[in-house]
Symmetry: C2
């Protein structure tokens, strides 16, 4: 059974039935949802996954797709020092999409919320027909009366701290590209050919588990600046440095692994924070460097200006293969 075989209303009912308990004042089913905003403001972000540049169906299950689409949006809420409260999901589906695949996507959203942000659920959405499978997600969050943590808040003398992985998702992508393609075309992953650490890397790429709960922890601990590291540590650190008018110096030996993939690999959605030198860096964060007066480069590694390439650009970097 494919989505063209059933009505839009029936498809929506099947999705909603799998989303778990609504956390909202008004959940799915009316013109809009109504979500509590006890802090008197709401944090909002949107991020889209498109079949082709962002995922390939040979590698990504419906469950992975929903899980990742949730995780990358939750990470942007965490990156503001807020708690995720709600997701809304727009699914654009080719008529030939199996209904069971869409149900797995819904399961992935439910399981990502349960695992990463238990106060959050999918509270609304939209289903449309399209030639290109697209998952557009908007996440809302609440600051609980605390200030938002911006990229521009890092101060000279602060310590630079990281929560979560760097380089793991990129290592997973490299395994997929190197070993599970034939003539450039993605092929299903043969789990039995992966070591345990390779399997962990592939999972980090396909269904990442960012440290969502540590965003609000950093805020409660008085962090000066915070951001989601989505495009690679050096590239995102450069954004924080430029917004703050400082140079961020990273100590390579403090990264794990202490090599280039940790500096440049994207899609792990670690949290990068700047804390006052007197602050107690909260559990889950580890110190990886210091905030210095603005020098010749935005970012340095072991004191040496870092001018290497940035991260992923979909128009420049996508090879055009759908898969």
């Amino acid at each position: 059974m494919v989505v063209a075989d059933i009505s839009e209303g029936e498809l929506v009912r099947r999705i909603v039935s799998r989303l778990g308990t609504s956390r909202a004042i008004v959940g799915p089913g009316d013109d809009a949802a109504v979500v509590a905003a006890p802090g008197g403001s709401v944090v909002v972000t949107t991020d889209t996954l498109v079949h082709g540049p962002d995922f390939r169906l040979a590698w990504t299950s419906g469950h992975d797709l929903g899980f990742k689409a949730a995780a990358v949006n939750l990470a942007d809420i965490a990156g503001m020092g807020a708690t995720p409260t709600c997701l809304v999901v727009a699914l654009a589906l080719p008529p030939s999409t199996p209904v069971s695949f869409v149900e797995q996507v819904a399961d992935g959203f439910r399981d990502a919320c349960a695992a990463l942000a238990p106060a959050c659920a999918v509270e609304g959405g939209d289903v449309t027909s399209s030639d290109t499978l697209t998952v557009a997600v908007t996440a809302l969050g609440d600051l609980g009366g605390r200030p938002p943590l911006l990229r521009s808040g890092a101060r000279v003398g602060d310590v630079l701290a990281l929560a979560g992985d760097t380089g793991l998702a990129a290592a997973g992508l490299a395994i997929l590209f190197d070993r599970f393609r034939v003539d450039g075309k993605p092929m299903p992953v043969r789990e039995e050919e992966l070591t345990q650490s390779e399997s962990r890397a592939v999972s980090a790429q396909l269904a990442p588990h960012p440290p969502i709960a540590l965003g609000v922890v950093a805020n409660a601990a008085g962090a000066h600046a915070l951001m989601d590291v989505s495009d690679g540590l050096v590239l995102d650190a450069r954004r924080m440095a430029d917004a703050s008018g400082v140079t961020l110096d990273i100590e390579r030996a403090r990264l794990d692994p202490a090599n280039d993939i940790s500096l440049r690999g994207g899609e792990d959605h670690a949290l990068l924070a700047a804390f006052a030198p007197t602050a107690v860096v909260p559990e889950g964060f580890r110190v990886i460097g210091t905030v210095r007066p603005r020098g010749q480069a935005s970012v340095s590694v072991d004191g040496i200006p870092e001018e290497g390439p940035g991260g992923w650009d979909p128009y420049r970097d996508w090879d055009g293969v759908i898969g």
Copy 2:
């Protein structure tokens, strides 16, 4: 110049520069935006326009596309009795999309907010590459401490009232399908061949102006129920009737025009409200019927049960032509 010629960052800068003044606590540029929610809750909805089923580029300019994508989402916020406060926009763009087209889309969003919801602006977004041009919008709104107006609130004895047009956008779509296609393929509109009223209908289809400000007016006037009429008056009235456990009786003579297109035409985004019989129906709304005890059908017209077809279903109704 097409989007593949410039970086993602440069494209985002060009879009943001055209969006007008941010109304938010934190506007575009960080991991997420932060928007005031003075009422202690936030209304949230999402609606997507996909090239093919939802619009054809032969008929729709970039400005129309941005304007309509904003308007249809603002209407869902109004349909809850709330004031729109913020839009976030995910654009999935083929690499061959002209940059000037994307800039016109941004202009359309800005102009729709200015015309329909002056307290609202685009405060964040996402740009990705895709084979299918897709505009996924999420709108937020604030209830100002009032209750949300649900579909389930209509009570027996209430008057049924409507604000905005019915049938006009459908008349416009019929003109486009009948007169501006060759061999089934959409062709540019020749404005000089349209009468003034035909031109008004085509505009209502391509860049609708729903009565957004009347949502909160209905709420302040104590409406029992409210909804956005997006799929046709009978179909959406059926949804309100079923949610409320009543029958809605529409008087055909009170519709304008008093014929079938007003009952079944979609995409005008009028507001359908139920007011207590003692309430003063606010200016901008006109009485079109009454709320009756649940009878054999959800909706009747002049007392006769209405069993006609519903509205648009993208999987059933789209002819597959992109255009």
